[in-house]
Symmetry: C2
Amino acid sequence: MTQTDLTHRFLADFHEVARIGATEHQGVERQAATDEDRQTRDWFVAFARERGWRVDIDGIGNVFATVELVPDAPAVLTGSHLDSQPRAGRFDGAYGVLASLHAAAEVERRVRAGELTARNNLVVVDWFNEEGSRFAPSIMGSSVHAGLMDREEILAVRDLAGTSVRDALTAIGYLGDAAGPRELAAYAEIHIEQGRILEREGIEIGAVDSSWYTQKLDIEVLGEQSHTGATAMEDRRDALVGASRVTLLVRDICTEFPPGTLVSSVGQMTVEPNSPIVVNSRVHLVADLRANDPAIVREARDRLMARIARVAEEERLDIAANDFDIRPNRYFPQEGIALQERVAGDLGLSIRRMQTMAGHDSVAMNTITPSVMMFVPSVDGVSHCEREFTTDDDMVRGVSMLTGVLAELVAGALDGVAYPGTAPEDAR
Amino acid sequence: MTQTDLTHRFLADFHEVARIGATEHQGVERQAATDEDRQTRDWFVAFARERGWRVDIDGIGNVFATVELVPDAPAVLTGSHLDSQPRAGRFDGAYGVLASLHAAAEVERRVRAGELTARNNLVVVDWFNEEGSRFAPSIMGSSVHAGLMDREEILAVRDLAGTSVRDALTAIGYLGDAAGPRELAAYAEIHIEQGRILEREGIEIGAVDSSWYTQKLDIEVLGEQSHTGATAMEDRRDALVGASRVTLLVRDICTEFPPGTLVSSVGQMTVEPNSPIVVNSRVHLVADLRANDPAIVREARDRLMARIARVAEEERLDIAANDFDIRPNRYFPQEGIALQERVAGDLGLSIRRMQTMAGHDSVAMNTITPSVMMFVPSVDGVSHCEREFTTDDDMVRGVSMLTGVLAELVAGALDGVAYPGTAPEDAR
C-alpha cells in the first residue's frame, strides 16, 4: 500500500465515522453508551473483523481488537475513545481511535511483508466513557482497566435519568466478560491538543511529558423553596443566588495567581425545583480546578472553601463542598519522549515537549505500562464544541507519526522501561 | 347538617386529597396534567357526581361541576386549582377547591331546604395549570376561559420534555369540548395568603382589593462551548458566568427601592450542555419582577437591561432579554369588598383589606365578571414549599366565610355590578 492509499483510506474512514451522531454544525453527539456510541463501536468492530483481528469486550465496555503478530507475546496497546461530550467536536477521541486502526493496519502489513520484525503483538482499543458527561467521573474505561477505579462501583454509577452504567452498556450490547490483553509492553495514544501552543508555534507534533494536577469540588447549596411573588426578600433563602456567587468565586480565583498557571470553572449546575415562580431550594454544582503546580490548586481550593463558607453565612444557606476526582501530576517515561523525537526526526516532522491540561486515557494507562502520548494541532485551540477543528494535513501527519511509533514499540523499543515516568526534577 | 358535620367532612376530605401525590415532608407534587393531577381531578368529579351535579370539561382542561338551582339563570362560579408546584405545599389551590365544593354543598342544602332564595346557579371549578411550573405561563385555564390567552396557542405549549399541553391533557383524559357556564353572575375564590400580614396582625380573613403589577424577563445567554481544562481563561466565553452575574443583578436591584416595594428573583435556569468538564454555551433564565407600583417595576427593568448589556460586553457573550407575561394591577370591585366585610361581621370574623403579590385565577376572572378574592392566614408566610401550613381552624373559618359569600352571591348580591373594579384613587 502506498502512503497515498493510506492517507486516502484514513481520511475517508475518519469523515465517515464523523457522520455518526452528527450535529447540524459539523460536530457530533455520541455520549457514552448511547445508541450513537453503539454505532461507532459497531463500525470499529466491523473494521477489525474485516481484517481478521480478534475482537474482545471487557466487563466495563472497553473494546479490544487484537492483531496477532507473535503468539503469546506481550501487547502494544494503542487507541483512544469514540464517545463524545454533548454537541461536541468530531476530533476529540475519535481521531485517536481512527489513527490507531489505520496505523495498526500499516504496521501489520509491514510485519507480514517482512519489512519489520515484531517482538510484541498489537491491540487497538476503544476505551469506554472517557468524557464523563453522561456518567461521572471521566476516563472510566481505562481507569478500571488500570485498576484505578473499581469495576463494580463504576457499573453502579447512574446518569441524571437514573440509568446505571451496567444497564446502559447491556442495552447497547457492549457489556462483555473478556479480560483484555494479558501482558502489556507499552501504550500509545494520539489526540488533538485542545489548546493553542502547537498552532501558535507552528509545530506539527506535541510530545506530552506530563499532565496537570487537577481536582473537582462537588458543591451542594441548600436553601428553602418559597414563592417568588409572595415571599419578602429578607425572608428568602435562595439556593440559586448562593450558587451564582459560588460560580463567580470559582471563575475569579484565577486572577489571584500568575496568568496561565490556574484554570477553574463550574461546568455542571442542576437547579431544583427550577420553576419560574419558585425560589430554588437546592443547586448542585461541579467546580473544576487545574494547574501544573499542585500547591496552586490546593491554595485556590482553600481560599474558595473559606469564601464559600462566607456566602453560606451571608445568604443563610447550607453549602457543602467536597473534594473529589483528585488527579496528581503524572509523568510519561523519558524513553517514550526520546522515541517520539527520533521518529519525528526520521519523518521530518517538527516536535516539542509539552504538558496536557486535559485528562486522557494515556494518563491512566501510564500507571501500568510505559505510555507514549502525542498531540496534533487544534485550530484556535477550541475543543468540546462543534467548532473544534484539525486540518486533514495535520491529521495525516499524526497518523504517520503514530505508525512510526507503533512500529518501534512492536519491535520492542520500550520493552522493560520503568513506569510511570518521573518528574524532570526528581530525575536530576 | 350541623356546622360540626360540615367542619368534620371538609377536614376529612381536605386531608384525604392531600394524600394524592404526597411527598415525604407533608407536601404534595401534582404538576399540571400529570397522573397525580388526574387523580385529584377524578376525586373532584366523584365528589360532584355523588351529589348529582353535572360535570363538564372544557377545551383547556378546566373541570366545571354545576349545581342547578334556577333553570337558565346565570352562574356564580367558585373554585381554584388542584395542580401544584414541584415539592409544594398541600394548601395552595387545593384548599380553595375543597372549600368551594363544601361551601357549594351547604349553599345547595340551604336553597333546597327553603332557607335561601336563589337567583343564580352555582358552579364549582378546578382551573387547569394555575402554577405554570410544567407548562408556562401560569394561570392558564382561567386565562383561556377569560379570553386573555388563545386556546390553540396554549394547547401547543410544550414542557421541557417536549410534551404539549394538548397531548398531556389527552393522556390524562381531561381534554373536553364543553364551553363552561353560559353566563356569569360573579366569581369567588378563597386561597392561603402566602405572606405574613394576616398572621402578624392576628386577623382571620383578608379581603383582596387589588393585585400587584408583575412582569417576567426571558433571558438567553449565549457563549461558546469549550474544554474546562484545556481552554485558557481569557479565551472562554462562559454562558454560566454571565447567567450567574445576571441572577445576582436581579436579586440586588431590590435594594435600590424602598424596602418591601419590589420583589425580584430568577426562578428558572437551564444550562447547556451542563457537563462537569465543559464551559457552558447557553443558559436560559426567567426573571420575575413584582411591585404594587408599575413605575417601580419599569424602572427596575430598565436598570437591569442596561446592566445586562454591560455583562454581555464584559464577558463577550450575547445576551437577549425580553419582556413577557406583563400583568397590570387589577382591582376587585368595591362592592365585593363591602360584601366580604358584611359577611365577616355576621360571622364574627376579623377582616382587613390587602393586596396580592402572587397571581391568582381570580385576577383573570375579574376581567369578565365581578370577582371576590379572600385570603386565610399562612403560618410563617411560607408557600410553594413543603413547609407551607395553615391551621385547621383557619381553614374552617375560611369555609364559613366562603359559604356566607356564596349564599349572598347566589341570592344576587353582585348582580349587575361593574367589573373590573377601579383603583381607589380613580374611584375618588
